[in-house]
Amino acid sequence: MRRAIIKTGLLGAFALGAIAAHAEITIGLSLGTTGPGASMGIPYKNALQLVPKTLGGEPVRYIVLDDESKPDNAAKNALKFVADYKIDALMGSNNVPASLAMTQVAAEAKVPLIALAPLPQLAAEKHKWTFVVPQPPDLMMSAVAQHMKSRGIKTAGYIGYSDTWGDLVYNAISALSEANGFKVVTNERFGRADASVAGQVMKIIAADPDAVVVGGSGSPAATPQIALVERGFKKPIYHNPGTVNLAFIQTGKSAAEGAIAPTGPLIVAEDLPDNFPTKTVSLDFVKRYETMFGAGSRNGFAGYTYDGVLLLDAAVTVALKKAKPGTPEFRVALRDAIESVNNLIGTHGVYNMTPANHNGQDERSRVLVHVMKGEWRLVK
């Protein structure tokens, strides 16, 4: 009996030693890989096949749980990561409501969260633990607003999803309208899988705006685009970063031609001028992504996961000097380290975190693209 205890003790000590020598870092991702957000969730997950296998030189384990893009599932997953897997950092989710649900868990459990969807302003405690990778909607939409101003557009119609995303894009474009000399004259809403948007489009055409802004994403955003073109609307149609993928063009076919959208620079990596700060990183990422997932499969979503991992990689290097992974001290050190990430070049832009700004991107993180001959190309 005594011997057994000694043996176990020895084994335990040995095991501890092994853990100390190979401090594995564990990252938990909650993504909607099935359910209504699956078309975004799947590319977010795909990027994990391209990310570095180590963080700050230590081996890393990524655990992905499906939240079906539902906030309650995202929160449950986050709790599970914290309780069962003792993760060092959380990542997720691919949509706003689910990511918001995760910020609560992150703040309570004191775990850094790399949010992969743009978030509205958070309460202080949640803000402290949450870092947002995607460009904020107003930064993205400012590219659209400036372009509208340069074209002398005075009125814009709006049609967007009847959910948080539709609200975010509407609020962003409305907030920018006055400064850029135009008015948003309609606020129409549609559902992702709606069979028809005829009513909404008719109302926009009746209002006769100089341009239309669409607050949709991916292939569903093609529904209003097609309806507008079919009804003979010839003025510019602007979209948002969520729309920039191949499915939008495949669905919209010839009606998609000319659609304009702001996006992260990686989408048009080849078209970027050589002195563009992210060109090397963006180009390398899209090439590797398309080798693995097929030509034309590039998308901004995968880039967010990738940039999130780059942020962690930079921060883990610093945090490892202060504490061991798997401990509360390490999570605090990691949070502090992410907050002081400086000049990190990602696929989407250059990140400069500060205590006030937990996104850290600037105008180098967005470009305007348009559909030309069935491809997204840089607006020059």
Binding site: G41, I42, E188, A193, A195, S196, A198, G199, M202, S219
Partner: protein
């Protein structure tokens, strides 16, 4: 709102209403014959739309695996049952032909023809060939073993089948939507009163489908057998009508109607792996307006839903679904006060 806009809204509402009408027909048919509230009816629509879209891209649609997998599953179930009855030897050749050789042959035909892009008509025929047999397969696997269960149990099974099919569709087609090529780009009229050829196709094919169904029920022996089963299951069995055959036929027709709707609507709307539920539910609202028993009333109800949806998307787009589904409450209230309750009737049996 001026007359132009109103006319266009009516046109849009009638076209979507025609699809909902077909859904309502299939739902009433399946409910009347088998007492199943067939939630996954819309899944045939999305599967057909996505299968056609994948074929038009020159790729092999995932539905071939569904067909072969479903066939194998049915064959296994049937073999176990035949073995229990000691009839395996007699039934085996037919079983293998119907549930293994035919689905595999169909799947191979599609795999062989898919890369050649043989044009809309061939691709539509292939799509029908892939989707329609799934109807009877579903019946055999999910519903027949529970044919005598209560409406509520059958409804829960329907929910399960719906979730299973949506998951399978996501795996087969991925999360993005597809829009198929129109049969023709031809447009009738000009200016503000344009009617696309596809809209005319949708409405006329729906009407044709309804006429064919009417003839089937009024004139053919199978149709009469289905009606008899719908009116009184026990009575129908007593006069020698196989309720099993009636169930299979009902599901075959439902799958055919669903697949046809998918082919019709996929060029005018984007179809996603999870589009089916909404389309099915709207048809269901139409069917409820018709009391789940009358075909003409169900179709009228469905067209009404289409029109209501179209006009509410003009006036209050954010509340469109709310308006459509809220309509159910007064109708259900009125019906429950005036009509005899169907579920209660079943439970008295």
């Amino acid at each position: 709102m001026n007359t132009d806009i109103a006319l266009w809204m009516v046109q849009d509402g009638v076209v979507t209403g025609a699809i909902y009408g077909l859904m309502a027909l299939a739902l009433v048919l399946v409910f009347a014959v088998t007492r199943v509230i067939f939630v996954p009816q819309g899944e045939f629509v999305s599967m057909a739309g996505l299968t056609l879209g994948t074929l038009q891209l020159g790729q092999t649609p995932g539905t071939v695996y569904l067909l072969v997998g479903g066939g194998l599953l049915v064959a296994a179930v049937e073999m176990v049952q035949a073995a229990r009855l000691g009839l395996l030897r007699q039934r085996l050749p037919r079983l293998i032909l119907a549930w293994i050789i035919l689905p595999v042959a169909m799947a191979m035909l599609v795999v062989w023809l898919a890369p050649h892009k043989l044009g809309s008509w061939v691709e539509m025929a292939l799509t029908l060939g892939l989707i329609v047999p799934v109807g009877p397969m579903l019946y055999r696997i999910a519903y027949r073993p529970l044919a005598n269960a209560s409406v509520l149990v059958l409804f829960i099974v329907s929910m399960a089948v719906h979730y299973a099919l949506t998951g399978i569709e996501l795996a087969m087609f991925g999360g993005e939507g597809l829009r198929t090529n129109a049969i023709s780009d031809w447009v009738l009229g000009s200016g503000s009163m344009k009617i696309g050829a596809q809209s005319i196709w949708v409405v006329s094919a729906s009407v044709a489908c309804m006429v064919v169904l009417w003839f089937f029920f009024e004139r053919s022996l199978y149709g009469k057998a289905l009606r008899a089963t719908a009116i009184n299951r026990v009575g129908a069995r007593l006069v020698g009508i196989s309720t099993d055959l009636a169930g299979r036929t009902a599901f075959l027709l439902a799958a055919a109607i669903g697949a046809l709707s998918g082919l019709l609507m996929s060029p005018i709307t984007t179809v996603y792996f999870d589009s089916g539920l909404m389309i099915g539910l709207k048809g269901f609202v139409g069917a409820i307006l018709g009391g789940m028993v009358s075909y003409p009333l169900a179709v009228l109800g469905a067209v009404g839903v289409g029109l209501l949806e179209s006009f509410s998307s003009f006036w209050a787009s954010a509340y469109k679904e709310t308006i459509v589904f809220t309509l159910l409450i007064p109708v259900l209230l009125w019906r429950s006060l005036t009509a005899r309750h169907l579920v209660a009737e079943d439970e008295e049996e």
